[in-house]
């Protein structure tokens, strides 16, 4: 029998240590608060991963505020060294923002996340490929887009002259899609970047990117054209083409 020190304080309670039970776990507010700032101090990665997932379920079941989960992600992602947990966090982020965050907070939170993820990329303590796959989803400000356009131009991410990551075609397509939704740049400039980046690339992904880009343009006429093409029951366009138009349609900007 070992006694705890006299000054021992309970910081958080988690009732499924070791994940031995299928259970729906709820946390008291003190535990949520402590874990939001300190989960990375828990050494067992199975427990950490479980708490990431239980928190996510709690958000969807209105047992935890989506804003608190966002704060949890912002605090924990830079400190989380386990690849699988990081991937989970990045995976839920987009749904979190699009579906569950109060709309008035979306742009600020996206922008902060972009900065946090760029910091992670530069620090290089995690698998950079995992982070690069998600970082473009959170481009929010003009300055952030300008930074990413420099990366696109060079086909690589650099930090103070040192190579951080070589961009793949898929990353370039993601940047283009975000650029076309951005109201801070002219249509002419966007089309130039599109042609410079895709050039003679006539592959399916490149063609779909062209379609997604044009349906994402932030002007009323382009939106209306895309909408009519998507919803016209007599349309002669292929299903694939119309589905590509759908995926570029909405934007928070």
């Amino acid at each position: 029998m070992v006694s705890v020190p006299a000054d021992f304080l309970v910081k958080a309670i988690y009732v499924n240590e070791g994940e031995h039970a299928y259970a729906s776990i709820r946390f008291d507010q003190n535990s949520k608060d402590w874990l939001t700032g300190n989960l990375h101090l828990v050494k067992n990665s199975v427990t950490r991963f479980a708490i990431w997932r239980y928190f996510w379920i709690a958000v969807k079941e209105t047992a935890m505020s989506s804003l608190q989960y966002m704060a949890f992600i912002e605090n924990q992602i830079p400190k989380e060294g386990e690849e699988q947990i990081l991937q989970f966090g990045l995976l839920v982020l987009k749904s979190m923002i699009d579906l569950y965050l109060p709309s008035e907070c979306v742009l600020d939170k996206s922008s902060a996340l972009f900065e946090a993820l760029v910091g992670l990329l530069y620090a290089g303590k995690v698998n950079r490929a995992t982070v690069v796959d998600y970082v473009f989803n959170f481009i929010t400000t003009k300055e952030q887009m300008e930074l990413v356009l420099v990366w696109l131009e060079k086909s690589k991410i650099e930090n103070e002259g040192a190579l951080v990551f070589e961009l793949t075609n898929s990353h370039k397509y993601s940047v283009l899609r975000m650029l076309f939704k951005d109201p801070n740049f002219s249509k002419e400039m966007k089309l130039q970047v599109l042609e410079r980046t895709l050039g003679e690339d006539k592959s399916d992904p490149a063609e779909k990117t062209r379609i997604k880009c044009l349906s994402g343009l932030p002007d009323a006429m382009a939106k209306e054209e895309a909408w009519l093409a998507i919803t016209d029951v007599n349309s002669k366009e292929s299903i694939a083409e119309r589905e590509a138009k759908m995926s570029g349609f909405y934007s928070w900007n």
Binding site: T62, S66, S251, N253
Partner: protein, 89 residues
Amino acid sequence: MELNRPYFDKFYDVLKDMNTYLPFKYLQTFFRVLLPRMEVSDAHIVRLVELKLETADTQGPFGKVIQNGIESLLQSKNVREYARKHAAE
């Protein structure tokens, strides 16, 4: 966002015709990708409930899509309201 808003209403206007004249798989994709969840109003939930009531076979494929949509909208709305309430406390 301002440019998107008119299409939040139009989305509900076209569902019936799309279900009648287009392949169901296309309707499913349309619904999944374009169901407006960025902002959810009670009026939008009511539109889907009305549409469900007008659907003869509520357990059929279209009825199930509508029901999933109602649940998705309610979930987004409730989670956002819960977050706002907690932020205000």
